[in-house]
Protein backbone atom coordinates (compact mmCIF):
# COMPACT_ATOMS: atom_id res chain seq x y z
CA UNK A 1 0.00 0.00 0.00
CA UNK A 2 0.86 3.64 -0.09
CA UNK A 3 2.99 5.00 2.72
CA UNK A 4 2.12 8.49 1.63
CA UNK A 5 -1.59 7.79 1.71
CA UNK A 6 -1.22 6.20 5.12
CA UNK A 7 0.54 9.22 6.57
CA UNK A 8 -2.04 11.58 5.15
CA UNK A 9 -4.92 9.59 6.53
CA UNK A 10 -3.34 9.60 9.97
CA UNK A 11 -3.32 13.36 9.91
CA UNK A 12 -7.08 13.39 9.57
CA UNK A 13 -7.02 14.39 5.95
CA UNK A 14 -10.45 14.12 4.41
CA UNK A 15 -10.12 11.30 1.92
CA UNK A 16 -11.60 11.58 -1.55
CA UNK A 17 -11.20 9.53 -4.69
CA UNK A 18 -9.19 12.36 -6.24
CA UNK A 19 -6.77 12.70 -3.36
CA UNK A 20 -6.28 8.99 -3.19
CA UNK A 21 -5.37 8.84 -6.87
CA UNK A 22 -2.91 11.71 -6.60
CA UNK A 23 -1.23 10.08 -3.62
CA UNK A 24 -1.02 6.76 -5.42
CA UNK A 25 0.49 8.30 -8.52
CA UNK A 26 3.15 10.02 -6.44
CA UNK A 27 4.07 7.10 -4.25
CA UNK A 28 7.45 5.47 -4.73
CA UNK A 29 11.19 6.06 -4.95
CA UNK A 30 12.92 8.39 -7.40
CA UNK A 31 9.59 9.92 -8.35
CA UNK A 32 9.88 13.51 -9.55
CA UNK A 33 6.81 14.35 -11.61
CA UNK A 34 5.53 17.73 -12.74
CA UNK A 35 2.00 18.72 -11.79
CA UNK A 36 0.75 18.07 -15.31
CA UNK A 37 2.44 14.67 -15.40
CA UNK A 38 0.69 13.82 -12.17
CA UNK A 39 -2.55 14.99 -13.73
CA UNK A 40 -2.02 12.85 -16.85
CA UNK A 41 -1.42 9.73 -14.76
CA UNK A 42 -4.30 10.52 -12.46
CA UNK A 43 -6.65 10.84 -15.43
CA UNK A 44 -5.78 7.28 -16.44
CA UNK A 45 -7.32 6.07 -13.20
CA UNK A 46 -10.01 8.69 -12.67
CA UNK A 47 -10.88 10.32 -16.02
CA UNK A 48 -12.89 13.20 -14.67
CA UNK A 49 -10.26 14.56 -12.25
CA UNK A 50 -9.50 18.21 -12.97
CA UNK A 51 -6.24 19.99 -13.27
CA UNK A 52 -7.17 22.44 -10.52
CA UNK A 53 -7.71 19.60 -8.08
CA UNK A 54 -4.31 18.13 -8.83
CA UNK A 55 -2.67 21.51 -8.29
CA UNK A 56 -4.61 22.04 -5.06
CA UNK A 57 -3.84 18.59 -3.75
CA UNK A 58 -0.14 18.83 -4.50
CA UNK A 59 -0.05 22.22 -2.80
CA UNK A 60 -1.67 20.79 0.30
CA UNK A 61 0.70 17.87 0.44
CA UNK A 62 3.58 20.32 0.28
CA UNK A 63 2.07 22.43 3.09
CA UNK A 64 1.71 19.32 5.20
CA UNK A 65 5.37 18.54 4.62
CA UNK A 66 4.63 15.18 3.04
CA UNK A 67 5.85 16.13 -0.41
CA UNK A 68 8.71 18.38 -1.47
CA UNK A 69 8.65 20.82 -4.35
CA UNK A 70 11.78 21.03 -6.39
CA UNK A 71 12.83 23.57 -8.98
CA UNK A 72 15.49 22.38 -11.37
CA UNK A 73 16.24 24.40 -14.51
CA UNK A 74 13.26 23.03 -16.30
CA UNK A 75 10.13 25.07 -16.46
CA UNK A 76 7.72 23.19 -14.25
CA UNK A 77 8.15 22.41 -10.58
CA UNK A 78 8.51 18.73 -9.72
CA UNK A 79 7.03 16.92 -6.75
CA UNK A 80 9.01 14.49 -4.65
CA UNK A 81 7.09 12.27 -2.21
CA UNK A 82 10.23 11.19 -0.40
CA UNK A 83 10.01 14.03 2.10
CA UNK A 84 10.47 11.98 5.25
CA UNK A 85 14.13 11.19 4.55
CA UNK A 86 16.54 14.05 3.83
CA UNK A 87 18.22 13.75 0.47
CA UNK A 88 19.58 15.76 -2.42
CA UNK A 89 19.20 15.49 -6.18
CA UNK A 90 21.42 14.48 -9.06
CA UNK A 91 20.21 15.73 -12.44
CA UNK A 92 21.37 14.72 -15.91
CA UNK A 93 22.04 17.92 -17.83
CA UNK A 94 21.11 16.24 -21.11
CA UNK A 95 18.04 14.07 -20.58
CA UNK A 96 16.78 15.51 -17.31
CA UNK A 97 16.72 12.25 -15.34
CA UNK A 98 16.72 12.87 -11.60
CA UNK A 99 18.07 10.56 -8.89
CA UNK A 100 17.79 10.94 -5.15
CA UNK A 101 21.21 10.96 -3.54
CA UNK A 102 22.60 11.17 -0.02
CA UNK A 103 25.53 13.34 0.99
CA UNK A 104 28.18 12.29 3.46
CA UNK A 105 27.68 15.25 5.80
CA UNK A 106 25.18 17.93 6.64
CA UNK A 107 25.51 20.72 4.07
CA UNK A 108 24.64 23.28 6.75
CA UNK A 109 28.04 22.68 8.31
CA UNK A 110 29.69 23.94 5.15
CA UNK A 111 28.31 27.44 5.60
CA UNK A 112 30.49 29.42 8.02
CA UNK A 113 28.87 31.87 10.42
CA UNK A 114 30.45 34.87 8.71
CA UNK A 115 28.75 33.85 5.45
CA UNK A 116 25.28 33.81 6.99
CA UNK A 117 24.63 37.57 6.95
CA UNK A 118 22.65 37.28 10.17
CA UNK A 119 20.17 34.86 8.66
CA UNK A 120 18.62 32.06 10.68
CA UNK A 121 19.55 29.24 8.34
CA UNK A 122 17.30 26.23 8.52
CA UNK A 123 17.93 24.08 5.48
CA UNK A 124 19.91 23.44 2.35
CA UNK A 125 19.05 21.92 -1.00
CA UNK A 126 21.78 20.64 -3.26
CA UNK A 127 21.36 19.94 -6.95
CA UNK A 128 24.28 18.00 -8.40
CA UNK A 129 24.58 18.19 -12.17
CA UNK A 130 26.28 15.89 -14.62
CA UNK A 131 25.64 13.29 -17.28
CA UNK A 132 23.89 10.00 -16.68
CA UNK A 133 25.64 6.84 -17.98
CA UNK A 134 23.50 6.69 -21.12
CA UNK A 135 24.00 10.32 -22.06
CA UNK A 136 27.72 10.19 -21.28
CA UNK A 137 28.04 7.23 -23.65
CA UNK A 138 26.07 9.03 -26.37
CA UNK A 139 28.19 12.17 -26.13
Amino acid sequence: MSDLLERLRERGWRMTAQRRVVAEVLDGEHIHLTADEVHARAVDRLPEISRATVYNTLGEMVSLGEVTELATDHRAKRYDPNAHRPHQHLVCARCGTIRDVHTSGDPLNQLPAEERFGFTVSGAEITYRGLCPDCAAAA
Copy 2:
Protein backbone atom coordinates in the same frame (compact mmCIF):
# COMPACT_ATOMS: atom_id res chain seq x y z
CA MET B 1 32.48 50.69 -15.59
CA SER B 2 30.89 47.39 -16.19
CA ASP B 3 33.05 44.31 -15.80
CA LEU B 4 30.37 42.27 -17.47
CA LEU B 5 30.23 44.59 -20.46
CA GLU B 6 34.01 44.53 -20.70
CA ARG B 7 34.17 40.75 -20.78
CA LEU B 8 31.46 40.55 -23.40
CA ARG B 9 33.17 43.07 -25.64
CA GLU B 10 36.41 41.12 -25.43
CA ARG B 11 34.65 38.09 -26.75
CA GLY B 12 33.79 39.96 -29.93
CA TRP B 13 30.17 40.36 -29.07
CA ARG B 14 28.44 42.73 -31.43
CA MET B 15 27.59 45.72 -29.27
CA THR B 16 24.20 47.37 -29.49
CA ALA B 17 22.43 49.89 -27.32
CA GLN B 18 20.07 47.15 -26.10
CA ARG B 19 22.81 44.75 -25.08
CA ARG B 20 24.73 47.50 -23.36
CA VAL B 21 21.70 48.44 -21.29
CA VAL B 22 20.99 44.85 -20.29
CA ALA B 23 24.60 44.36 -19.23
CA GLU B 24 24.55 47.58 -17.23
CA VAL B 25 21.34 46.66 -15.45
CA LEU B 26 22.77 43.30 -14.45
CA ASP B 27 26.16 44.48 -13.31
CA GLY B 28 26.97 44.37 -9.61
CA GLU B 29 27.05 42.20 -6.51
CA HIS B 30 24.10 40.31 -5.04
CA ILE B 31 22.08 41.00 -8.18
CA HIS B 32 19.42 38.36 -8.85
CA LEU B 33 16.79 39.84 -11.13
CA THR B 34 14.08 38.08 -13.09
CA ALA B 35 13.94 38.63 -16.83
CA ASP B 36 10.98 40.96 -16.50
CA GLU B 37 12.67 42.95 -13.78
CA VAL B 38 15.66 43.36 -16.06
CA HIS B 39 13.27 44.47 -18.78
CA ALA B 40 11.59 47.02 -16.52
CA ARG B 41 14.92 48.56 -15.55
CA ALA B 42 16.16 48.48 -19.11
CA VAL B 43 13.07 50.35 -20.27
CA ASP B 44 13.95 53.18 -17.90
CA ARG B 45 17.11 53.77 -19.87
CA LEU B 46 15.97 52.74 -23.34
CA PRO B 47 12.20 52.97 -23.57
CA GLU B 48 11.78 51.11 -26.84
CA ILE B 49 13.67 47.95 -25.84
CA SER B 50 11.49 44.89 -26.29
CA ARG B 51 10.88 41.98 -24.00
CA ALA B 52 12.04 39.52 -26.64
CA THR B 53 15.41 41.23 -26.85
CA VAL B 54 15.90 41.07 -23.10
CA TYR B 55 15.09 37.37 -23.09
CA ASN B 56 17.38 36.74 -26.06
CA THR B 57 20.21 38.74 -24.57
CA LEU B 58 19.98 37.05 -21.18
CA GLY B 59 19.94 33.66 -22.90
CA GLU B 60 23.08 34.51 -24.82
CA MET B 61 24.88 35.73 -21.73
CA VAL B 62 24.05 32.44 -20.06
CA SER B 63 25.32 30.47 -23.07
CA LEU B 64 28.54 32.44 -22.96
CA GLY B 65 28.91 31.55 -19.30
CA GLU B 66 28.95 35.18 -18.19
CA VAL B 67 25.67 34.99 -16.33
CA THR B 68 24.12 32.17 -14.31
CA GLU B 69 20.47 31.22 -14.29
CA LEU B 70 19.04 30.26 -10.97
CA ALA B 71 15.77 28.61 -10.09
CA THR B 72 14.60 29.14 -6.54
CA ASP B 73 11.06 28.25 -5.57
CA HIS B 74 9.71 31.40 -7.07
CA ARG B 75 8.12 31.29 -10.45
CA ALA B 76 10.57 33.14 -12.65
CA LYS B 77 14.21 32.31 -13.22
CA ARG B 78 16.69 34.82 -11.88
CA TYR B 79 19.90 35.98 -13.49
CA ASP B 80 23.15 36.28 -11.58
CA PRO B 81 26.02 38.16 -13.24
CA ASN B 82 28.56 36.93 -10.71
CA ALA B 83 29.44 33.85 -12.79
CA HIS B 84 33.21 34.20 -12.67
CA ARG B 85 33.47 33.32 -8.99
CA PRO B 86 31.84 30.12 -7.70
CA HIS B 87 29.29 30.73 -4.99
CA GLN B 88 26.02 29.48 -3.56
CA HIS B 89 22.82 31.20 -2.54
CA LEU B 90 21.06 31.98 0.71
CA VAL B 91 17.35 32.74 0.34
CA CYS B 92 14.94 34.23 2.86
CA ALA B 93 11.86 32.01 2.94
CA ARG B 94 9.66 34.96 3.79
CA CYS B 95 10.68 37.96 1.70
CA GLY B 96 12.69 36.23 -0.98
CA THR B 97 15.92 38.20 -0.52
CA ILE B 98 18.91 36.39 -1.98
CA ARG B 99 22.53 36.70 -0.86
CA ASP B 100 25.59 35.20 -2.50
CA VAL B 101 27.49 33.00 -0.05
CA HIS B 102 30.66 30.93 -0.09
CA THR B 103 30.97 27.44 1.36
CA SER B 104 33.99 26.19 3.21
CA GLY B 105 34.58 23.17 0.98
CA ASP B 106 33.73 21.86 -2.45
CA PRO B 107 30.22 20.36 -2.31
CA LEU B 108 31.24 17.74 -4.86
CA ASN B 109 33.39 16.07 -2.20
CA GLN B 110 30.29 15.44 -0.14
CA LEU B 111 28.85 13.07 -2.75
CA PRO B 112 30.34 9.59 -2.32
CA ALA B 113 31.05 7.48 -5.41
CA GLU B 114 28.38 4.94 -4.50
CA GLU B 115 25.77 7.71 -4.56
CA ARG B 116 26.63 8.80 -8.09
CA PHE B 117 24.77 6.08 -9.98
CA GLY B 118 27.43 6.05 -12.69
CA PHE B 119 26.88 9.73 -13.48
CA THR B 120 29.76 11.97 -14.52
CA VAL B 121 29.15 14.68 -11.94
CA SER B 122 30.40 18.11 -12.91
CA GLY B 123 28.83 20.64 -10.59
CA ALA B 124 26.66 21.38 -7.59
CA GLU B 125 24.34 24.20 -6.69
CA ILE B 126 23.33 24.79 -3.11
CA THR B 127 20.38 26.85 -1.98
CA TYR B 128 20.41 27.58 1.74
CA ARG B 129 17.09 28.61 3.18
CA GLY B 130 16.23 30.53 6.30
CA LEU B 131 15.01 33.89 7.54
CA CYS B 132 16.83 37.16 7.00
CA PRO B 133 17.39 39.34 10.09
CA ASP B 134 14.40 41.60 9.30
CA CYS B 135 11.98 38.74 8.76
CA ALA B 136 13.25 36.83 11.78
CA ALA B 137 12.57 39.92 13.92
CA ALA B 138 9.09 40.35 12.46
CA ALA B 139 8.15 36.71 13.10
